[in-house]
Symmetry: D2
């Protein structure tokens, strides 16, 4: 085929226009021929809406890209050059449960972090491994660009249990670069951050402006009220003594570990006041978004998408795809095999790190030892992830229990067990591995 | 000098009769000539009481051991063969504060674990390093056998900041061996446990009876109500699913990490009902003990000492000293440099582990990789310890804050800060390093 | 069965009386019931001779041990408690070729080191793996005590490709202890050496007399003419500047690496003068030995066996077996999984090291980092070994070539190739894996 | 100052026009203001000749760059932005001795490899450390770009014993890229090689054309006569079985390790026939070159410089300087701290590896584990280097002896000692550290 074939698993997602916009913007360097938007039966109507918007967007851009809407995943994957995944097993309803269940036990209720992320992982692992089987069979040379959360954990699962070439991607690092740029009122291209850690637990070890180390200045601003957060994370202020002593930039999700009590309060308050969990808020936004998407005159990414929280995803994703396709030897922050880059971690675990990207993939750039204050948390979180991956694959109750008990946000084995039982019971339909 | 010189720092401790008893029992293999019981001015009256009991004990045993009571630490250390440390900076009053302060923030209030252990470490590090300076100058060939809690952390400090030959010792491993023996109604010599972990966070990886692996059987009994705890730790039952999946034996102190919520409740209840914290209970026991010690007719270790909680200390300590002196090449469970024994940890950190002991010291026996569920917690705890050691030496506020925030029992940076401020303020007299 | 069943593979070896002697000496602690001496058809007459001597020895000792002579390996292995291996594929004739072939290319011609050891490994690996299959099937709980040379490499093969519990054993470490004792005219029990390295490439890091470090004194004596060698290695003197700077004791086989040129000369001279290679000399000794063994009045280990070079084998072997059987927790120097004991080497390679031996096996005691001068050679030798094991299993020509080229004693790829071709051609009958 | 200040230590080198040419070519991206060519008194006349050529070259290019000729090293270094080193302690006469001495003992006589490289390192280390003291004092922010051979070893010394920011550079990797490009008749920009190893012992793990893996094809061509060598290394053909089994591309210098015997013969032949060692040949070329340089009409890099052997140096060097200055985030192959990039080596040793270069330096890109056949040699060579660095700094005879004995090209301790004594005696004037 002349031109690239892209398969988007979870094509009916409200993020899809973002992604299509990315392909349009980079059409001069990425000769995309076909984009297959795949979804499951339950998502057919959404797929229709968003798919038609995608078609109008491409048409408006005057590009010769076929947008194919399909429920046939295998056909979409066959001979694809890139497969991207942005599906959500169980939909926002399942996410809402992920967020609510932990709150009952006074534990962080969050989509990707803590027990919520665990539940999401349990639902997602069987599906992603299934997709990988299709890729191994039908498109063994394809790159799997995984956005599906918890992205680091899912990439770890793919890495351990399949032969698929995969890179996990998150918008947090690119978001941090952009937020620092905004804070300093400079173009984001002039900012470079040495990232190291795990997905949603990544540190900016050093920050540079035009190659000059400005970490201390950024820390000052950050603690003096300069915001560094995501749409979906409350903008609680960092403790200055703490962050200055750290000497590096925490990511917005670190709040769940460092401000656990305040965030639990905030989440409980949000539920109590009827604002609902984040999922419940997103449900509303999504409804509105799909109404907007339906407009047959809309032929570009609507402004309202910004509110949805996935800013920079298209940038991160399509520029990564382009770096691979064009053998760019460019630095991206991705989830890949550690391979010695972080010296305190084993070679074979997935980390979130700066990597040089070329046609052969993403190669982690060394950062050496993490200091104890970072290493302790990273090791604990990675231990949880490894156990969660194993539990997600085997469905072993004891492993699942050890995983939750190992999660730094779960306060005791007793609560881990209650959470696990509630999660299994609430997600029965999606957990074939737990018999 | 013919015969050994022993210096006991904190000689006025209520544990001393235990130690003297140990030397008496092993007098056939350990030719002790002098035992110097050293204490500080504030402890002089206790030193008198316990020292005179020691003299009566030795006399009754018909041994030619000089018991010297002294406030002159340097004289006691000079040319000593072994220095043991069992002192408590600030006494039980400080310990009571260590236990009470965290409870105000709904955090475990415990002598060696969590913020209480942190506070104790901050008070102890300046003193132990001072003692080590004396040893370096006056008895460079002496072995420092450290019982002072938090024993692993203090041994880490000595290891990192002095040239003193040291081995850290705890009665938890020997206690676990004895408790398993009791549970199975066999002689404790027939039980062997492969220990690995950190002080007060040590796992029995495998348990053997006469060389036969009986780990699973012990786990069954343990969860079916077989007790495995210390005097000072509430006997909460383990979750069977969890421990069976672990496949190894937790130490009694693991309860603080795995049953955090229940233990906080128990501690708060104990305070509320007027029973007081553990320190406050011990204060009473100690008072009674010293009354007993005063009896001029008492010339042996009194039964009441058992209640005090330090069972097996003398056994662990004196048999370790004998293994060194007699070049025994015998296995002891001690706190020493990891040196590769636990593969997931750096070579240069102190771990609690089985080691072969001879005249040249204690050499860790390899155990390979810890599984993730153990590694995560051990790494987090060691990160906390390394930061605490650094804070204890430098008195740097930021490092101390990072240390507490890194402690797995402290739920947030905000609480870490409150705890730190309270600890510094309550311990001012003992924290010269924090200016 | 009451009492132990021992299977001796290669039972017709001239060493067998040594081993029988060992079992007799330790009969009070090792309740041996049956010793099965197994050999192949070609070795039947030797088996008869040595087996009958064994029977006479046992009878004279008044012990109730059945000596069974057999060609049925599977029957011998079935339900054995210990399997020892001391066979020699191709006999001394093959060894003679191993020693001669390298000399043609001016390369060390030695039984276990260099290309000779490689050839021996290629012949031995298929047989040992076959034996291990039998053990896995017929005696899965048996311990395989492997003396078969190259012992480290063969243990590595068993370790990597089978599930058999194995410990590799060599008489070099025990020989070094005894030679140091002799040099200092003290009882060998008073000497302790911290060994670390690989089989036939092991260093005595520190030497102790009654726990006192006497390494420097031993080095002085060693270089001033104190002999430290084996029967089969020419007693060339060590360079004092070199060994003093090393600060540790080389093993006799280190001469092949540090005195390569002189030893090649010596070997060539030996061949030229008609004295023959070591194998050819041993052939003569063996002939004489078997004549002696035939004497129906001989009922003990004959003095002439000493000349054979296997001194201390029985001591090393039977005392190791007893340490396992009696759960002794005793230090032995053995070939086992590194497991972190030597920090510069991976966990999963076999090293020769002090280990604590109990019913569950041999557990390496940590030694930390090797200094560069030792690490460089050990890494190179281990690289060769890993490749040789792979070549021995797969029969891949390229891997075999890389292995020989990686051997520190082989000067070039060209010579490696010639050696490999000669070795394959000369050993065709024994190398089924090389097609 | 507006514009960059460059200090070139060893400015009188015949390579200088190459370097000047590089700065001229990249004048659009590198605003060089001053180039200080420094040399020692003995080199003054050469400095004059080459310096004046440099001035004419700059003038012809129409650039406003000051060329300063000086013997005052400190003045040249003061406030420099980049310091490059290309000096040769003892000149080509010393190199000739380095090449001749080993040949007397039938050992490779080569400038950077084996005992010749050792001798050069001993002469160079005191001088480079002295230069670094100046940089630490006078230009602490300067980058030291080190070409001085043995470049890896010298970079290791600077890295271990100074605080100077340094990157070691060699033209071998860029040469290999160019030679592969030539072999395939494609533009060298389309070739990418994953390099890993040590300086002059670097492997091309994988070779890519436009991102496509062509390693096997390159290996085929390489062994079928496709040349891959340097001007100064005889073009001996690789063994196809060997290189195919390696599955990676050796560097030209690997011949010294894999074809040792043939190269010794070649070197001896060259001396015997009067052609002389490489140094002696270069002496002639240099004489001619300086004659050419004297020509007042010459105002560009003369063609004859190609023969000298330093092709691509200017490209490697000036493009590296530009990548730093312009914060390019570009991949270069350099000698830097390993930092985990090669998993089998410690973090803190210098390796030759692909690195991402920006304003903050060169950051190694991870390659994971080296296979045993590569690891064995790399470890042995790095062990030699570490000992050589220590010997070069301390002048300790024993360490020097251990270093030479650890060099894979030195066959015995006896020869190591003879070589060492000859080297010390022949270089007395340049080895102040060896007293």
């Amino acid at each position: 085929m002349n031109g690239l074939k892209i398969a988007v698993i979870g094509g009916g997602s409200s993020y899809t226009p973002e992604l299509i916009d990315g392909f349009i913007k980079r059409s001069n360097e990425l000769p995309v021929k076909e984009i297959h938007l795949v979804d499951i039966e339950d998502g057919e109507s959404k797929l229709d809406i968003v798919g038609n918007l995608a078609k109008r967007m491409v048409k408006k851009a005057g590009l010769d890209i076929d947008i194919i809407l399909t429920l046939d995943r295998r056909a979409a994957i066959k001979d694809a050059d890139f497969v991207t995944t942005q599906f959500r097993v169980g939909g926002l309803e399942a996410r809402a449960r992920d967020e609510r269940i932990p709150l009952e036990y006074n534990v962080i209720g969050q989509e990707t972090t803590g027990p919520g992320g665990f539940a999401k992982a349990m639902r997602t692992i069987p599906v992603i491994l299934d997709i990988c089987k299709d890729i191994e069979e039908l498109a063994p040379n394809a790159w799997l660009i995984n956005f599906t959360n918890p992205a680091g954990l899912i990439t770890e699962a793919v890495h351990r249990y399949t032969n698929v070439k995969t890179i996990g991607l998150c918008n947090v690092p690119i978001g941090m670069v952009n937020m620092v740029a905004k804070m300093l009122e400079v173009d984001s291209k002039r900012i470079k951050i040495d990232f190291a850690g795990l997905n949603h637990l990544v540190w900016g070890k050093r920050v540079y402006l035009d190659g000059k180390d400005i970490t201390d200045e950024v820390i000052e601003k950050l603690c003096d009220g300069g915001s560094l957060t995501m749409k979906n994370i409350p903008d609680l202020k960092w403790d200055k003594d703490f962050v200055k002593s750290l000497g590096m930039i925490p990511c917005p999700y670190h709040r769940y570990y460092y401000m656990t009590d305040d965030l639990i309060e905030e989440e409980k308050e949000s539920v109590k006041t009827g604002k609902g969990t984040r999922a419940e808020q997103v449900l509303k936004i999504e409804k509105e978004l799909f109404e907007v998407y339906k407009d047959p005159n809309l032929n570009q990414k609507p402004e309202q998408l910004e509110k949805r929280g996935g800013a920079y995803y298209s940038d991160a994703a399509v520029s990564l795809i382009s770096a691979i396709y064009n053998d760019k030897k460019e630095v991206h922050t991705v989830n890949v095999r550690n391979n010695g880059a972080i010296s305190n971690l084993p070679d074979d675990v997935v980390v979130e790190i700066n990597a040089i990207v070329d046609k052969t993939g993403a190669h982690a750039i060394t950062v050496g030892q993490l200091p104890p204050e970072v290493n302790g948390l990273v090791q604990a979180a990675k231990a949880y992830e490894l156990l969660a991956v194993e539990a997600g694959v085997t469905g072993d109750y004891g492993t699942a229990l050890k995983s939750l008990a190992a999660n730094p946000l779960v306060p005791s084995v007793k609560i881990a067990k209650k959470l696990l039982d509630d999660i299994i019971s609430a997600n029965k339909a999606y957990l074939p591995q737990f018999k």
